[in-house]
Amino acid sequence: MKIAISSKGKELDSLLDSRFGRARYFIIYDGKADTFSVMDNSMNFDAAQGAGIQTAQNVLSTGVEHIITGHCGPKAYKVLSLSAAKLYLKENGTVKEAIDDLIGGKLKAANNADVEGHWM
C-alpha cells in the first residue's frame, strides 16, 4: 500500500501540511517495505496558478493508492477523482499519525472537494 501525505517537513514525525496544492513536501510511504521517500513540491508551492492540479498530477505519478492531506479544492479533486487513488482529509498531527490512522481504519475517504480553490 502506497500513501502520499502532504507534509511540512521531510520526516515521518513532520507535521501534516493542511494545504494540498501548495504543500511544501509530500511523504510517499510504502507500507509493504515500510520505507518512505520525499517528494519536493516547492515548484507548486510558488506556482502562480494551477498548483492544485499540477500537484495532483505529480502525486498520482508516484503510483500512490491513498492520499492524506488537510483540505482539497475542486480542481485538484477533479484530477484525483479521475484516478483510482482515494483521498482522506486530516487536519492536524504528524505524518506518522496520519499513516497509523489510515491503517487503523480511522480515516474515511472523501468524495468531494471540501474547500474552494485559494481557500487560504
Binding site: A47, Q49, G50, A51, Q54, A56, Q57, V79, L82, S83
Partner: protein
Amino acid sequence: MNTPLNIAVASGKGGTGKTTLSVSLAIALGESVTLLDCDVEEPNCHIFIKRNNIGKEKVSVLIPKVEKTRCNKCGNCAKICRYNAIVSLPSGPLIFPELCHSCGGCARICPTGAITEKKEPIGVIESSLSGNIKFFQGIMHVGKPISPPLIKAVKMHKSPDHLTIIDCPPGTSCPMITAVKDSDFIILVTEPTPFGLNDLKLAVETSRKLKIPFAVVLNRSDSGDNRVDEYCKNESIPVLLRIPEMRCIAEAYSNGKTIIDAVPIIRGQLISLLNDVVSIVKAKGKINAG
C-alpha cells in the same frame, strides 16, 4: 489637440475617481477624442455618456480541445503548459480552460495533431459616437477569469490621429498592466487616505518599471491628511490637479453627471492638465504614435 497621444488613467486603489476623471477629460476637451473603458470587469464610463447606435464586436480567445482518438498520451502538452492548465493522466489530458492563457504551445507540440484550438467567447466590445467622443468599452462575460485578452482588444481601437484616454482597471496586476502598457503617459488618481497612499506607491513602482512617465491627480484633495502630498514631494512626482471634496460633485455623480456639470469652472483646469501632460511627453521626446 491633434496629437495621437495615449493617456492611461490608473490608480492602484479602486474608487479614487479614475472613471470620473477619464470621462471629464474627454468631455472637457470638446474636440475629437477616443475614450476606452478598459475596466472590463466593471465598465462604467457609459453611465456618464449618452450613447446611440451601439455597435457590438465579439471577442474570443483560443482554448485547446483534445481529439481523444488521436491522443497518444505522451504528456507533452501538460509539460509545456506553464500555466498549469493541462494535466496528463493515464486516461489522457485534462484541460482547465479557466487557467489557459491561449499561448498555443500545447497545439504546436502535440506530435499527433490531437489538439486543436477552438474559439471561446470571453466578452464584447461596445462602440458608439457621443458628440466629440469615440467611445469603446469592453464587457467581460460573467465567470470568465482572464481579462487581458479583452483589454488588448479594446486597446486596438486607440486612435492613430487624436488623443486617446484609457480608463484602466484598479490594482497593479495583469489587467492594470495590460491597460497602461504602451501608453505615453499615466495619470495616477489617488485620494489623501492611508489606502490611497499605499496603493499609489504600488502604482508608482509599476509605472516606473514600465518606464512610462506619470503624474498624480489628487481627488477629494482636502479630505484625509497630507501624506500623499509629502510622498509626491519627496519622490518629485508632479501633482497636476486637485479636485476638492464637494457635495455637489458627489450629487452629480450619483445622477450620472460629471464634475464638469457640478463645477463648470473645472473645465479649464482639465484642459490645462491635458496640456501639461502633452508638454511633459513632448519634453521626454517620445510619442508612441498609433
